[in-house]
Symmetry: C2
Subunit: 384 residues, 2 copies
């Protein structure tokens, strides 16, 4: 048994990933203590050129590559290929998110590497996965959001489909891949054998939509758009106050009663149209304006204060700025400031809190291209 | 070294979770080979009462509890508390998603359990986490979508904020918790010590929004809604054809050129307003109608066929039904049919593909309440 400061202490990840899904995954691994060596092509990860920039450094790149090391390798050059081979011989995990076929063309496919480096866990993140008819089709997050049905269920019933305001299929695939990689590490630790991890954005989208898959599967009814409203519970969604919308979540009859008292509409409690959730669901169109009539008397902030006092589940629709300024977010270190080499940038923190695992250090920043070549080459020499 | 059929073979999860975030997490663990013993209160997990129903069984419950065992325990009864203690003594992981404070009131808080069962990994999933000023505030997915800024960035620029059409904060927290639990298992395997895992829906939402956090952090500009459109690349988003919208993703100048050729608008390539991505971003308002004029000549299906031939990244905006019918989805077993005891229901499959790990067996269904009491009690006796 070893003394370890973090779950992935001593684990080295050889990271060939670019842009978002892969880098998000390997950043999660770095936050859990892995040493992540980012292998970049000449010119670096494309996102080094994505704005906005802070002191000439891409904020986009920084926010997904916190706490990694960088070495620049040209995989068309024999000398650099030797270095990659040395890294793979000494690393524990290879992660890549090229389009399927690319690693094979480069001579680093799973079939070859599993023979050369039987200890190496090989993780691939791609649009459609390494099997199936669409395997090599081009994929971007927006393409997968559209194909997977995610857009079709997002938006209001009277409007068109909407994209989700984050690259959810990239992020989701990165998250599942992180679980798969840690699982494969546990499997190797217990059985001595390294496995292949194969996660796709489309698979991730289907899994995250399990409830919609089930709903169509059970009823044959195609799930539609419901806007900011729970599909099974009423009143549970967005309601207009004097100056904007508030989220009210009356999850049961007791909470509905509390709400009616607070807004001065106790007559609704005994109204036969609203006596239980089923009735309220059916009579949503009648109930909504009655609630909003009462809410119009005050602002969102005023209602939030009143409702907070009785512990009623409610929320403002925050902007990103308002969300980041929540004391709860600071208390959980979910915005950390990267400060180094003249760059100071607030980025998202580590969402996986384990006891004895410190949150990412402030000051931990993404590497410059090829910044760690010297240390990495020295490490390879000392271990060979 | 052991022979193991799956990464979590031989791992027993004592699952006190209800509704969505927790059950989604433990289903991921079950798919990876863990034995998941779902401990349900009298009456069972609330979602057993959620429609739609298939042969009197909740499809909602089935879709999140595939492959688990069930035992019903009343934690107010001393005899049943003894059974839970025996389970915790023999289990590897406890997962719960009560509101913080509830487990403590029941006498099963982390402080107590870590002393009684030092081998036991203790994982909590909650709205706000087990620290911070909002720790015990009520949380639902919609509340967290609103608070975290997710709603504020979803929707079209001229419309209001929108909810995401899935319970993303529940699902995301469940996904991060799964990674945390497997990490903690690896940590225990290597160091001998069990840790606490503490994942919150709000933390998950912040992490998944890393790009928006960074954007506000770098520029001070509050990220807004852009509709179905990439914020950095043009043309990249939804465009109207004769009978509906198509997603076109011209990620670079070459793809833009290809698109112009295919739609018969080669004049756009040399138009000074559109010569590079920066110019196209600026002149999006001029470019969009020009592209849509050309697209109006054909249907979405016709354009998809034409664009597929040249490998141009594009997509229809699928409904859930259309998504589930994609041959790619079947090829990846992302919709599996649960068939048992007269129930047949398509549910989402396992998104974490590892080599040598078979996908969930068709026929694997969620348990009836207390279905496995006999086997579980026999197992406790045989091991004590």
């Amino acid at each position: 048994m070893q003394e370890l400061n973090a779950p992935l202490d001593g684990i080295t990840v050889i990271d060939l990933t670019r842009v978002l899904a892969g880098p998000f995954c390997t950043q999660l691994l770095a936050d859990q203590g892995a040493r992540v060596i980012k292998v970049e092509p000449p010119g670096g990860d494309d996102t080094r050129k994505f704005g906005p920039f802070v002191h000439q450094k891409s904020a986009y790149f920084i926010s997904n590559n916190r706490g990694k090391e960088s070495i620049c390798l040209d995989l068309k050059q024999p000398a650099d290929r030797i270095i990659l081979d040395q890294l793979l011989a000494r690393g524990d995990v290879l992660v890549e998110n090229f389009r399927p076929g690319t690693m094979e063309k480069l001579g680093y496919g799973w079939e070859i590497l599993q023979k050369k480096y039987p200890h190496l866990i090989y993780a691939s993140i791609s649009g459609f996965g390494h099997s199936g008819p669409l395997m090599t089709a081009p994929a971007y997050d927006m393409v997968i959001q559209a194909l997977s049905g995610l857009m079709s269920v997002t938006g209001s019933p009277d409007g068109g489909p909407q994209a989700i305001g984050i690259s959810l299929c990239d992020i989701g695939a990165g998250m599942f891949a992180a679980t798969g990689i840690v699982s494969a590490l546990l499997w190797r630790e217990r059985s001595g054998r390294a496995r292949r991890v194969d996660v796709s954005m489309l698979d991730a989208a289907l899994s995250m939509q399990g409830t919609n898959v089930m709903r169509y599967g059970a009823t044959g009814e195609v799930p539609g758009r419901v806007g900011i409203r729970h599909s099974l519970i009423t009143p549970f969604g967005a309601f207009a106050c004097r100056d904007g919308q508030i989220i009210l979540a009356a999850g049961n009859d007791h909470l509905f009663g509390q709400l009616c008292h607070v807004i001065g509409k106790t007559d609704l409690i005994t109204d036969s149209r609203f006596t239980n959730n089923e009735a309220r669901n059916e009579n949503y169109a009648a109930l909504k304006p009655l609630i909003e009539d009462a809410l119009a008397a005050r602002t969102v902030t005023e209602w939030l204060e009143i409702l907070a006092k009785i512990g009623f589940p409610c929320a403002p629709i925050n902007t990103m700025r308002e969300a980041m300024l929540m004391p709860q977010v600071s208390a959980r270190h979910m915005v950390v400031t990267a400060t180094e080499r003249g760059v100071s940038l607030p980025v998202a923190g580590n969402p996986i809190k384990l006891s004895d695992l410190p949150d990412p250090r402030p000051g931990q920043i993404a590497p410059d291209l090829d910044e760690h070549r010297g240390e990495i080459l020295a490490w390879l020499r000392e271990r060979s």
